[in-house]
Symmetry: C2
Subunit: 318 residues, 2 copies
Amino acid sequence: MHTDLVAALDIGGTKIAGALVDGDGRILLRAQRPTPAREDGESVMRAVGAVLAQLTASPLWERASAVGIGSAGPVDASAGTVSPVNVPGWRDFPLVERVRMAVGGRPVTLVGDGVAMTAAEHWQGAARGYDNALCLVVSTGVGGGLVLDGRLHRGPTGNAGHIGHISVDLDGDVCPCGSRGCVERIASGPNIARRALDRGWRPGPDGDVTAAAVAAAARAGDPVAVASYRRAAQALAAGIAATATLVEIEIAVVGGGVAGAGDVLFAPLRHALDEYATLSFVRRLKVSPALTGTDAGLVGAAAAALLGGRPGASAYVG
Amino acid sequence: MHTDLVAALDIGGTKIAGALVDGDGRILLRAQRPTPAREDGESVMRAVGAVLAQLTASPLWERASAVGIGSAGPVDASAGTVSPVNVPGWRDFPLVERVRMAVGGRPVTLVGDGVAMTAAEHWQGAARGYDNALCLVVSTGVGGGLVLDGRLHRGPTGNAGHIGHISVDLDGDVCPCGSRGCVERIASGPNIARRALDRGWRPGPDGDVTAAAVAAAARAGDPVAVASYRRAAQALAAGIAATATLVEIEIAVVGGGVAGAGDVLFAPLRHALDEYATLSFVRRLKVSPALTGTDAGLVGAAAAALLGGRPGASAYVG
């Protein structure tokens, strides 16, 4: 039997998902555990072990040649360690070595979750066929990743594409990262909701104060809700334009829960891009919603496994 | 006789320089003409032709295998055209084809001047030995270029690294490019001088109102002059930190006339980087002054000629 599958792990602050994925990006087997994010590092690792045990127990397992991990960041791919902000028990945790031990020495590739999502969109989604692309995840935070010259650009530590923490307002509000005016500080879901509440928007009878509720209010014409999305769009546009100006991208793909607002976000985003993406070589930039959905993390981790440790690899083939 | 040399052209708004350069980056022959920037496109091309004629008349010429051009931007390497802001007679001017005709069909490679300076610093200067670097030219404008994964990252149109026109202040002053709060709008030499004058700094008896005069005043302790450089440093730091966060760079090399201010610029720049470069993988970022000086444009154009049209090429060898 040949090794035509890879194993994928998607590690976040709320769940740890695993899968066996074929060379066409199809998920053949899934496993999942909640992340015991408030417990110590070994407890979190036990949850990873339980997910892996479900995969290795399958008759399909012997066809798996490698493991890809997409993890909440920061990660350090060069050291094989992870320090997810929302998992305090893991600081410089040697995840790559621990997973390698659990999978009989198969090669393990680690990338940040933004890079994984980007690999998924480049392999299967809206960035397919583009040699230069930025993919964003706009959700509780804002993450991202880059495809440059046809290759996933991971960076030496696997963190490249961290658009959420570039400053687009150098005198702006302090961000939890320590900088000021970061894209995430303006455009994340919680910040869209906070800004709307601060300016007088009030939730409906269901008490829903999420960015999705603000989006619903914006669709109904609430000017404060519209303005909060417009401001988020402006920060995203400044960040996307900065990226295009720095590395020349042809498309920006936007996913994550906040992208679910649809035109409430995308219409002012395209408008603001006209304002910030001004040089001749960035004016043709396209903006598209992401296509890979909730499996992006697993599909992207599988893509990373297929690329392996080769920084110049460009094809997601087994 | 073997072809161990390349020809280099450095095209700016004030002068057109040419050279024959060997495989170690040494300039063996030079030629130069003023740029007739206010005249029509054919007059400008005649000045280029005169520079090339001086090179082709040399007995060294038969050893030249290729031509590299670094030009004031914007350029379009994919179309082979240039549209330098300060040379209105050239708009989408087919410079590559015209130069190719003048040099007997030898291969011609075009890059923007920021990319050329970066190639020079990576080949011969402060970025040598780094696989991931940003080089900046802070002068009348602010330009730049990138080395990623050990390769000069030119981008599809040869404009990548345009750090002067990323917005670090999304509500800031309108930039001539049409955007707002661009790094160049805050950190270029003329903007450093303008801000100092606006806040009450006055030149000495020589009437010198350049950024260099503001730097001299800052060294003498003038608080308005110090503050103007500090603001420029802050904008540069936000832009450099954004670049590091997006693509993971190990070093930022800063050249151009404004970098001549020395510690008046570099001390607040390093301080501001601590504020904006906060994520774990960007904290080790180094900042160094450029080393290649006034020949950077020619040396970089020669490096581009050695790399040729191969986007993946990484070694400056003939």
